[in-house]
Amino acid sequence: MNPSDSKPLEIHDLTVAYQRKPVLYGVDLEVSEGTLTGIIGPNGAGKSTLIKTIMGMVPSNGGWVKIFGKSAKKSYARVGYVPQRESVDWDFPVSVLDVVLMGRYGHVGWLKRVGKKDRIIAGECLEKVNMLPFADRQIGKLSGGQQQRVFLARALAQESDLYLMDEPLVGVDAVTEKAIIELLRELKNQGKTLLVVHHDLSTAKAYFDQLILLNMRLIASGEVEKTFTRDLLQKTYGGRLTIFTEVADQSAGVREYEKETESS
C-alpha cells in the first residue's frame, strides 16, 4: 500500500438530496491516513447523510467518492461502518457475541459459517471494550452505553482500515466515553483512519485531531487548531447560512421534510 497516492477517503463535489431537497451541496473532502477526524455541525447539517452517502446507502445526485484510490464500491471490504444505535431492532434474537461475529461476516464470505478463528477474534474484541462477561446476553438486555461498546467491538472485529462512525458517543456515560475515545486513539496509532460524527462541541476539540465542519456545505476541514475557531464555528452554527437553506427549500418546492432528512 502506498499512502502517498491513495488517500483513505476522497470526496469531490458531492451533492445529495432527499425528496429533491438538497442536504449536502458540493462537498469536497480529503482525509489522510492515520487520522482521527470529527464531523461536527448543527442538526440537519447532513453529517449522517455524508457518512451514509460514502457507504452508498444514500444515492448521491452528483460528485464522486473514492476510498483508497478506488471507487467506493470496490473498497467496502476495507471500511468499517458503525451505524447510529437507533437504526437497529434491539429486540432481535441475537446475543452480544453474535453481533460481534457479524464483524467477521465480510471476511467469511457467502454460504460459509463463521469459524473458530473468527470466534477467537470476536472474543478478543469484546475483551477490548470490556464486554466479554456479557457475551451470551441477548443484545437488548444491555444498557445504551454497553450496546454502543458492542457496536464498537463489531467494528474492531472487521479489522478495517477506514472507519466511519455515526455518533458512537450518544447515550454513553462519561467513563465509557473516555474508554471509547481511548480505543479510537489506539486504532489511529495503529495507522487506521477514523471519521466520527460528533454532536458535542464542548469535547470536540479535546477528542479529535482533525475536524470537518459541516452545514450542508463544507465549512472547513483540517487540523483542530485551525478549524476549531470562533469564526468558523459561528459560520457553521450561526445564522449566516440560513438564507442558503431557505432558498434551497424553496427551490425544491418542498415545505417541511425536516423529519425525513434527519431522522431517517
Binding site: G80, S87, P93, M102, G106, R154
Partner: protein, 474 residues
C-alpha cells in the same frame, strides 16, 4: 356477510374431514398410525411439509416484526390463484404457484411504493393491499365458479382450505418450496441474521440486502401459496405466526427459534391431521391451527423458565419468604427492646410491633414454626394475666436468619448515609426492600467498605457474624 360469500360456492362442507365416518375411532386411529392408506400418507406428508415451511418462514418474519405481512400476502395472492387457474384451465399447482407468486410480489411492491411515495404508513398500506387484492380475488373466483370449466374445479378450497383433494403435483410443489426454504435457512443463515438485525450495517459489508429481502418475500409467498389449499386464506397467517411466537417464548436466539418454530409447526400439523382424522366432521386446517394455539398456551403458562405459572410461583415464594423474614425481624426487634434479657416474646407483643391483629400475628407465628424458625411454649412465669400468653422462642436457624436480615437492613442504611450521602431519615424505606435481596458477598463488600461497623445511623447495634454464631448479642 361471510355467509353471502359462502353461499356463492356450492361445496358440501368447507374444510372437509379426511376419514370415512363409518369406521370406529380405534380403527381410524390404527389406519392413520400405520400409514397403510394412500390418502392418509398424502395428507400427513402435505400437512407436515406445510407445518415445517410455515414454521421456518414464520420465525424469519416474526423476528423482523413483519407478522402482518404473511396475512397480507395470503390475501394478496388470491387474484393470482384465479389468473393461474384461468391460464391453465385446470387446478395445475405449478401454474397457480406462478400466478400467485406474481400477485404476491405485486402486492409487496405496491406496499413499498405506497410507503415511498405517499404519507401512508406501513400498517395502512398493508390493510389497503390486503383487502383490495382479496376483494379482487373473490370476484374473480366467483366468476370462475360460474364458468363451465370452473364447475367442480375445487378452486373454492383456496378460500377455506380442504385437505382431501391434495394431488401428487401439489405435494411436489410443497416439497419443492420446503427444500428452498430449508436451503435458505441453512445456507443464508448468517446473511439473513445480519440483514434482519442491522440492515444498514449489512449493506455496508456489501450484502445485497434488497435481494435478500425479495428472496424472503418469494419464499414466504411459496410457503403461503402451498399452504392455501390446506388451511385457506385466513388461517395461513396463524401457521406463520403461532409457532414462531411460541418459539420466541422459549428462547431468545435466532437459530433455536428457527428450529423450534419449524418443529412446532410440524408437530401441530401432524397432530392436527391425526385429530381431524380421528374425529368425524372435524375440518383439518382449523384443527391444526387450534393444536398450534394450544401449544402456544401450554408454553405461555407451563414453560419451566418463562412460563406465567412459573413466574407466578416464584413471585409467590418470594413474597412468602419476605413475610417470614419480616416476622423474624420483628421478633428480633422485640428482643432487642428488652436488651435481650429474655429469650422469648409473646404473640401479643409481636402483633403490636407488626401492627397486626392477633389472628394475623398467630398465622405469621405458625408459619415460622412450620419452617422451624421458632418454637411456641406457654408462659412459665407467674404473670397475673390469664389466659397465660403464648411465647415465641427462635430456633438457632431462626435466630441466624433474623440477625442476617437486621444486619442487612442496618448495614444498607449505613452504606446509604455514609457512602451515597443519603440523609439518615431517607434510608429506612429503601433498606426495607434491600434487606431481603442482599447476598452474602455484597454484605462482605459493604462491611469492608465501611470497615466492619458496629452501629447503624440510628445508633443501633449491627449484629455481626460472631453474634449469629454465638446465638446471642452482647
Amino acid at each position: 356477510m361471510a355467509w353471502a360469500i359462502l353461499s356463492l360456492f356450492t361445496f358440501p362442507l368447507h374444510g372437509e374431514q379426511i376419514s370415512a365416518p363409518s369406521d370406529s375411532l380405534l380403527e381410524r386411529g390404527y389406519r392413520f398410525l400405520t400409514l397403510s392408506d394412500e390418502s392418509v400418507r398424502m395428507v400427513l406428508l402435505g400437512t407436515v411439509l406445510m407445518g415445517l415451511s410455515c414454521g421456518i418462514m414464520g420465525s424469519l418474519i416474526v423476528t423482523r416484526r413483519l407478522s402482518l405481512f404473511g396475512d397480507t400476502l395470503s390475501h394478496a395472492v388470491l387474484p393470482g390463484v384465479a389468473v393461474g387457474f384461468l391460464w391453465s384451465h385446470s387446478k395445475d399447482s405449478w401454474a397457480i404457484l406462478a400466478g400467485a407468486t406474481l400477485a404476491g410480489f405485486l402486492g409487496v411492491a405496491l406496499i413499498s411504493l405506497l410507503k415511498k411515495t405517499s404519507r401512508i404508513r406501513q400498517d395502512s398500506a398493508l390493510g389497503l393491499v390486503l383487502s383490495g387484492f382479496y376483494a379482487l380475488g373473490i370476484c374473480m373466483l366467483t366468476r370462475i365458479q360460474k364458468m363451465e370449466f370452473g364447475n367442480q374445479s375445487g378452486i373454492d378450497k383456496y378460500l377455506f382450505g380442504q385437505v382431501v383433494g391434495l394431488s401428487s403435483t401439489d405435494l411436489w410443489t410443497m416439497a419443492f418450496s420446503f427444500l428452498l426454504i430449508l436451503a435458505l435457512s441453512i445456507f443464508l443463515y448468517k446473511e439473513m441474521l445480519v440483514a434482519g438485525f442491522d440492515s444498514e450495517y449489512a449493506r455496508s459489508i456489501g450484502l445485497p440486502v434488497d435481494f435478500l429481502q425479495y428472496l424472503l418475500w418469494l419464499l414466504l409467498a411459496f410457503a403461503v401459496i402451498t399452504s392455501l389449499q390446506i388451511v385457506g386464506v385466513v388461517l395461513v397467517s396463524a401457521l406463520l405466526v403461532i409457532p414462531a411466537a411460541t418459539a420466541t417464548l422459549i428462547t431468545d436466539r435466532m437459530r433455536p427459534i428457527l428450529i423450534w418454530s419449524g418443529l412446532l409447526g410440524c408437530m401441530a400439523a401432524a397432530t392436527g391431521a391425526f385429530v381431524s382424522f380421528l374425529g368425524s366432521q372435524l375440518p383439518t386446517g382449523p384443527i391444526i391451527v387450534l393444536v398450534s394455539a394450544s401449544f402456544f398456551l401450554s408454553v405461555l403458562f407451563f414453560h419451566h423458565r418463562n412460563g406465567l405459572l412459573f413466574k407466578w410461583f416464584s413471585s409467590r415464594n418470594r413474597n412468602h419468604r419476605i413475610a417470614l423474614e419480616n416476622t423474624l425481624k420483628a421478633v428480633y426487634q422485640e428482643l432487642e427492646s428488652i436488651d435481650f434479657q429474655k429469650e422469648s416474646v409473646s404473640v401479643g407483643q409481636l402483633a403490636k410491633r407488626r401492627r397486626a391483629s392477633m389472628p394475623q400475628a398467630h398465622r405469621e407465628v405458625s408459619a415460622l414454626v412450620e419452617k422451624q424458625y421458632a418454637t411456641l411454649h406457654a408462659d412459665q412465669s407467674d404473670s397475673p394475666a390469664s389466659p397465660k400468653p403464648v411465647l415465641i422462642s427462635l430456633t438457632p436457624k431462626g435466630w441466624g436468619t433474623a440477625c442476617r436480615i437486621v444486619r442487612n437492613h442496618r448495614l444498607w442504611e449505613l452504606y446509604l448515609t455514609n457512602e451515597a450521602r443519603y440523609a439518615a431519615d431517607h434510608v429506612h424505606d429503601d433498606a426495607e426492600k434491600i434487606e431481603h435481596v442482599l447476598g452474602e458477598e455484597t454484605v462482605r463488600r459493604i462491611e469492608r467498605i465501611l470497615s466492619n461497623p458496629r452501629k447503624d445511623p440510628h445508633g443501633k447495634l449491627i449484629p455481626s457474624q460472631r453474634d449469629i454464631d454465638r446465638g446471642f448479642i452482647s
